[in-house]
């Protein structure tokens, strides 16, 4: 008679342990990312000083990268991918406008924005607004950038920034992001499925 309750205790103990385990597993899983639809806005000067806004690109997809022209690694790699994507789109290329938004606008205007973007692809439009407009655009895209003091870097600072590509739809809706390192072929296939 005494052995049965013991077995029961053990079994109930296991049930309790399993329940605790399930709760722990549940808690450790990251909360699902809610990517509610939003429409990023920007109002930034192009290389010629003309203010360009998101409104004028309605009806086209925007492929947006925030970077700076003094960036030797991440930015050229990503813009080279954008160039491949634009070439791969062929006749559909007109439906996509790639944007390079400078997070280091003052220096990039001085160094030359157009010669940088054109070196990758003539269709890439470089934008470099003033500091307030740049911050507003980044906030609107919900991205982060920061000027970091770095005595060893040119001009004594470098930039940390979100290295992703953002896709904005023809209605201005934020559609998705492509993480840094996403192959151009993958981006191209995704774009083609939408066009």
């Amino acid at each position: 008679m005494t052995r049965i309750p013991l077995l029961r205790k053990i079994l109930w103990g296991m049930v309790v342990l399993a329940a605790i385990g399930a709760v722990v597993v549940q808690l450790r899983q990251p909360a699902p990312r809610v990517e509610a639809a939003f429409r990023p806005e920007f109002s930034l000067a192009d290389a010629a000083g003309k203010i360009r806004t998101n409104a004028e690109f309605r009806g086209r997809y925007l492929l947006v990268f925030f970077g700076f022209t003094n960036c030797p690694d991440v930015c050229p790699t990503t813009l080279a991918e954008v160039a491949q994507v634009m070439e791969g789109l062929q006749t559909q290329a007109a439906k996509v406008q790639p944007l390079f938004i400078s997070v280091d606008p003052e220096r990039d205007r001085r160094l030359g924005l157009t010669e940088f973007t054109a070196a990758f692809h003539p269709s890439i439009l470089g934008l470099a607004g003033d500091d307030a407009a740049t911050r507003a655009a980044a906030d609107s895209f919900k991205i982060f950038f920061e000027r970091e003091p770095d005595a060893a870097a040119p001009d004594g600072f470098t930039m940390s920034h979100s290295p992703r590509l953002y896709l904005i739809g023809p209605e201005g809706d934020w559609l998705r992001q492509y993480d840094y390192g996403t192959p151009a072929t993958e981006i191209l296939a995704d774009l083609k499925s939408r066009l």
């Binding site: 022209t69 030797p72 690694d73 080279a80 060893a152 940390s160 920034h161 840094y180 390192g181």
Partner: protein, 157 residues
Amino acid sequence: MRNILLGGLTLALFAGAAQACETVTLGDLSIGHAWSRATIGEGRPAVFYVEITNAGAADDALTGIATPAATMPMLHETVVTDGVASMPHAMSVPVLAGQTTELASGGYHGMLMGLTSALKEGDSFPVTLTFAKAGAVTVNVEVLSLRAEGPECDDAN
């Protein structure tokens, strides 16, 4: 016209890739795929990528780079943390035994600041790599297009 342009770009991407495919050896280390990207002017820093294979049994480390092409060459690492890319200095790059270490896009790379002149596609320049144990060796770095993603080598590394 468009096709001619595209053809030109394709050629530019692959032209002269042979040099970057050369391998030099230093003891147990073999160093190859040394390349850089063309720069627009000399005011912007250039990049230096290379591949180091350590066939030996002992770990080593790349502790420095030097080149006549730039007054301030440094080792950096691109780090992406919580969706933000930054580029801290790397004091040294581990070159572990039996492994191939890449200085490549999105990871460790050389940053060449204070260029003595703009890097033009098709040019090459020497970079001397200093290792903690193996000593120093000089490789020829090939300047590829600004759009290049790496040299095209037959060994498909």
